[in-house]
Amino acid sequence: MMMSALILAAFLTAAPASQAAADPGPPVETMVVAVRAVETGTGEKHLDPRLEPLKTLLLRLPYDTFEQAASASRTVAFGQETAFPLTAEYTLLITPLERDEDGRVKLRARVQMTSRDPNRPPVNAVNSVTKVVPGDRLQIRGLPLEKGELVLFLSVTPRGESAPPNRRR
């Protein structure tokens, strides 16, 4: 009898998690910021004012100039791949896959690189699957640019939900 009660309690506790897995819920608001980080050799640090919230992270990198290459915010449905053009060479493709029992958004993030040579097909410079805590940030860096690199910051928040206050933006 006691065992039955415990099993029932465990089932009732687990039920919301399994429902969450089956129903991913509303689309996610996806925010992307792309930063062109280059070394100009001027000896002075230059930070695009729009990147001020990312100052601490960016100024640690071995470059002296940081310019915003792109920024976008879009609503993306689960199972739908959405393209975020970043530069002439790079495009970010985001596909939310599901939400896990902790509320994290599992998503596929591909950074596709297009060669200037039309005979070369695009390739995935990065192909990843990540469980992202809503409001938290995923950083992708090291994407080659002339004299520097492209740095991406990606954040997702399910529509209708606000990011936890303790999460970094």
Partner: protein
């Protein structure tokens, strides 16, 4: 109230004391004769040996005790016993968890990269957390003309 004024002396005589005329009085007095008969019944009962359990009866004797001890409790008693047992188990589990984990703390899930790869030639991808804990994927490119 005494049925006969000789009762006390008859009881003393019955106990073995010397009471002159008591035996003759009992022979004539119906009340005192009944008293003596009652005292004789009591004396006989007191002197009767106590019943003993023969060795052959021990198994059945202990079986009876065991049946009493193991007899199922009323239903409501079992419910309360189960509730008590459950609460005790919860308290024990909670205490153990608190001791082993250093006290309660909120469970916080982290952003985790499950898989990553690159199709760039002469390049690899590394996954790490930056100084501020940001999940980071970094492409390491060895050089060459990628454009």
């Amino acid at each position: 109230m005494k049925a006969c004024k000789w009762e006390t002396r008859v009881e003393q005589w019955f106990d073995g004391q010397t009471v002159t005329g008591a035996e003759g009085h009992v022979a004539q007095c119906p009340a005192c004769r009944s008293l003596v008969q009652a005292l004789q019944v009591m004396r006989h009962a007191a002197q009767a040996p106590a019943p003993e359990i023969a060795p052959s009866q021990f198994p059945a004797f202990f079986d009876g005790i065991r049946q009493q001890v193991e007899a199922p409790l009323p239903a409501y008693s079992r419910v309360w016993a189960a509730v008590s047992l459950g609460l005790a188990a919860l308290i024990a589990a909670g205490s153990t968890f608190a001791i082993l984990s250093g006290g309660p703390r909120p469970a916080v899930a982290e952003t985790v990269v499950e898989s990553f790869s690159t199709e760039l030639q002469d390049a690899t991808v590394e996954y790490y957390r930056s100084d501020d804990g940001t999940a980071t994927l970094q492409v390491h490119y060895a050089g060459g003309d990628m454009w």
